[in-house]
């Protein structure tokens, strides 16, 4: 019967193909070579040719210098990597080395998934000493370091000169006072003073810290008295006041139907935003006629303090090739490798390569300056919950105007999560 034969034929094709695929996978290398697996989210797009640089230049050089080690790199898209890590922890199928977002490190350190690098690597101290303190601190959890910084970034103020000029403003806002003064002038021209895409830690901590406030105490054990301190409340109040005055768009409180920060800045709907170094190639590609300018984060009573972003490189506790993994980590932190990845938009974490940096991309200068005072977010395994509470509190404050009440309530909830 035709039907039956069709099914048989299809089944045969599938069986043959699957066997061929399986057989192909069973071919092993016969030399004694240690193979380590490296998971990352380096991208392949016009804005950041990270993956090509890794696979065509960086890894080949590592393998040349270390002929007994082979690196198998596995790219993931950024949004999926964390989910992949979670299921792999549950299944015990983690790789040897991971390029982890800095915000994930405490969570997985608590789970025992990442190895304590300060104990495992004999030269940890000297390596760590060469990196930015803020970036290094993102690896710290309960007395140990669970990784080394790999690439870093921070947020600076990006502004549209034309938008400012149309309101008669000749220099970008550099202080909280400037912001308050510029807002009504810009509003009169139908331009928002400042826009951001949310109210989480990444968004509001620069304001809180520059305002002289903080989310927690210095040992990250208490939020009450800090998140709702007068200085923090005043800093958040700045945002609340600006929002109420119509100087900040609803995008910041979660309205996904509002114009995005990138489009808004380039088309002069927004005068200023806070963003990172990746915006330069993005703006060049998307809005070639827009000349992007930068300045430090507006300074308040606490100075100009921004938030540290980036990725750390970690070794998994379950890795069976720890020596080789450490060798790779060492290499990725070398000046040569760090400079190579800088060409692909990855800001180095080493303080001693800054001279080459500005030769590679002149715009790195402002980020380097901002990084000197930038701070990491709270290194807690419960950071996702804390971030959500903080974000909801600030958005509620902006919408309702009850800043103190919102921050009081948030501080109390966060206390419970910091224990």
């Amino acid at each position: 019967m035709r039907f039956g034969r069709l099914i048989l034929a299809l089944a045969l094709v599938v069986a043959v193909a699957a066997t061929a695929a399986a057989a192909g996978a069973r071919v092993h290398a016969t030399r004694s070579v240690t193979t380590i697996t490296f998971w990352h989210a380096y991208a392949t797009n016009a804005a950041s040719p990270e993956l090509q640089r890794l696979t065509k230049i960086v890894i080949p050089r590592f393998e040349k210098l270390n002929p007994s080690i082979k690196v198998v790199q596995v790219p993931f898209d950024y949004n999926s990597l964390q989910q992949k890590l979670t299921t792999s922890v549950a299944g015990g199928t983690l790789p040897d080395v991971i390029r982890s977002d800095i915000a994930w490190v405490p969570q997985y350190a608590k789970l025992g998934a990442f190895a304590q690098l300060d104990k495992a690597m004999p030269d940890f101290k000297s390596l760590a000493g060469k990196t930015y303190p803020g970036s290094l601190a993102t690896n710290f959890y309960k007395g140990h370091y669970y990784g080394l910084p790999l690439d870093t970034n921070t947020r600076v103020e990006m502004y549209n000169t034309a938008a400012l000029a149309s309101a008669g403003i000749t220099s970008p806002p550099r202080t909280f006072a400037d912001l308050r003064a510029d807002a009504p002038k810009l509003k009169a021209k139908g331009i928002y003073l400042f826009a951001d895409s949310g109210t989480g830690g990444w968004n509001v901590l620069p304001w809180i810290w520059s305002g002289g406030g903080s989310l927690t105490n210095s040992t990250y054990t208490k939020a009450t008295g800090y998140l709702n301190s007068p200085k923090t409340v005043a800093a958040v109040q700045l945002l609340v006041d600006l929002y109420k005055a119509g100087a900040i768009p609803s995008l910041m409180t979660g309205d996904q139907g509002a114009v995005g920060t990138e489009d808004g800045l380039a088309t002069a709907k927004y005068a200023t935003i806070l963003d990172g170094p990746w915006m330069f190639p993005i703006f060049r590609s998307a809005y070639p006629n827009f000349h992007l300018q930068t300045a430090l984060v507006p300074a308040g009573p606490g100075g100009s303090v921004s938030v540290v972003g980036g990725e750390d490189i970690v070794m998994t506790q379950s890795s069976k090739h720890k020596q080789a993994a450490e060798q790779f980590i060492r290499f990725m932190l070398s000046p040569w490798a760090q400079t190579q990845m800088a060409h692909a938009g990855q800001m180095p974490v080493r303080t001693d390569v800054s001279k080459q940096l500005t030769k590679i991309n002149s715009y790195y200068a402002i980020f380097e300056k901002q990084l000197q005072t930038a701070r990491p977010r709270t290194p807690s395994p419960n950071w996702p919950q804390i971030d959500t509470i903080l974000g909801n509190a600030v958005a509620t404050a902006m919408k309702s105007g009850n800043t103190k009440a919102a921050l009081d309530s948030a501080a109390q909830q966060i206390d419970g999560l910091l224990r």
Partner: protein, 283 residues
């Protein structure tokens, strides 16, 4: 009747292994403060997670939102899908092409269409506001955002129910339709008297599937509003995803999914009862 078991066995064994066993394990997870690290001890909580859900205002809000989405998208997809199937169940030119075009949204990736709908419903510069001349802040408010997501759900799902209804309409005996024409019945009367009763079990099936699907809405909400602003558009699965995969609280996430399952189960039983033909036995 060994044959009966022989026919059911291969499929059912696979099903039991790959679905039922994990369901049981997931239920077990919901009873613990489950630690994802293999080999480490998890704290027994009993039904504590379920109690926690019942006291969680965001859980209730997400339940209402999910219910709204389901109640809006299910009838719309049935009516429009059936309508499309009826239109296509005829000898018209380019019939196959039309069918493929109606099925196209079903196969287009959720990522692409969610993004597109976000752009279509933008407050300034969105096509919808431009066409209607209004300045509605679609994605900024709870019900307008849910409406947007529901429109996307309906648009994407019409082709699915259309395909099933088409297959069902093929099964309506031609003689019955011809007899109705001889009796002088117009097309609408023929449809109501002949086709509709004949495809009743299929309508029941589609309704149940759409209700289940409606309760399981996830990707569109995740990509369009992310559950925001301020958790106003959370649906059960986006809330569950955040609990399980962002907060790593798998026990609580599992309990949320079982509450969802229970609700869907009860609704499905109710529907089966509703659609049962008089005199029909169970299942």
């Amino acid at each position: 009747m060994l044959w009966a078991y022989a026919f059911a066995a291969p499929g059912f064994v696979l099903f039991a292994l790959v679905i039922l066993y994990p369901v049981a394990r997931a239920f077990q997870i919901s009873l613990y403060n489950w630690s994802i690290v293999p080999g480490s001890a998890s704290t027994w909580l009993g039904l504590h997670n379920y109690g926690r859900a019942l006291h969680d205002p965001i859980f209730w809000r997400s339940l209402v939102n999910t219910g709204f989405y389901m109640a809006v998208t299910t009838p719309a997809q049935i009516v429009l899908g059936l309508g499309a199937a009826v239109l296509l169940d005829a000898r018209i030119p380019a019939r196959g092409l039309f069918r493929a075009l109606f099925y196209l949204p079903v196969v287009t990736s959720w990522v692409v269409v969610s993004l597109l709908f976000r752009y279509l419903f933008m407050t300034d510069g969105g096509l919808v506001n431009w066409l209607t001349g209004q300045h509605v802040d679609w994605l900024g408010g709870r019900w307008t955002a849910l409406a947007t997501i529901s429109i996307l759900g309906v648009w994407k799902g019409i082709g699915w129910s259309m395909v099933i209804f088409l297959a069902a309409l093929q099964g309506v005996p031609v003689e019955l339709k011809e007899a109705a024409i001889v009796d002088g019945a117009g097309p609408w009367a023929r449809f109501r008297a002949v086709s509709l009763p004949a495809i009743r079990p299929v309508v029941a099936f589609v309704t149940i599937m759409l209700v289940i699907g409606g309760f399981n809405v996830f990707t569109s909400v995740f990509l369009i509003t992310g559950g925001g602003p301020l958790d106003e558009t959370q649906v059960l699965l986006t809330y569950m995803y955040r609990q399980a995969f962002t907060f790593l609280d798998f026990g609580y996430g599992a309990s949320l999914s079982f509450i969802l399952t229970l609700i869907v189960f009860v609704l499905s039983l109710a529907q089966l009862r509703l659609f049962r033909r008089p005199g029909e036995g169970t299942a």
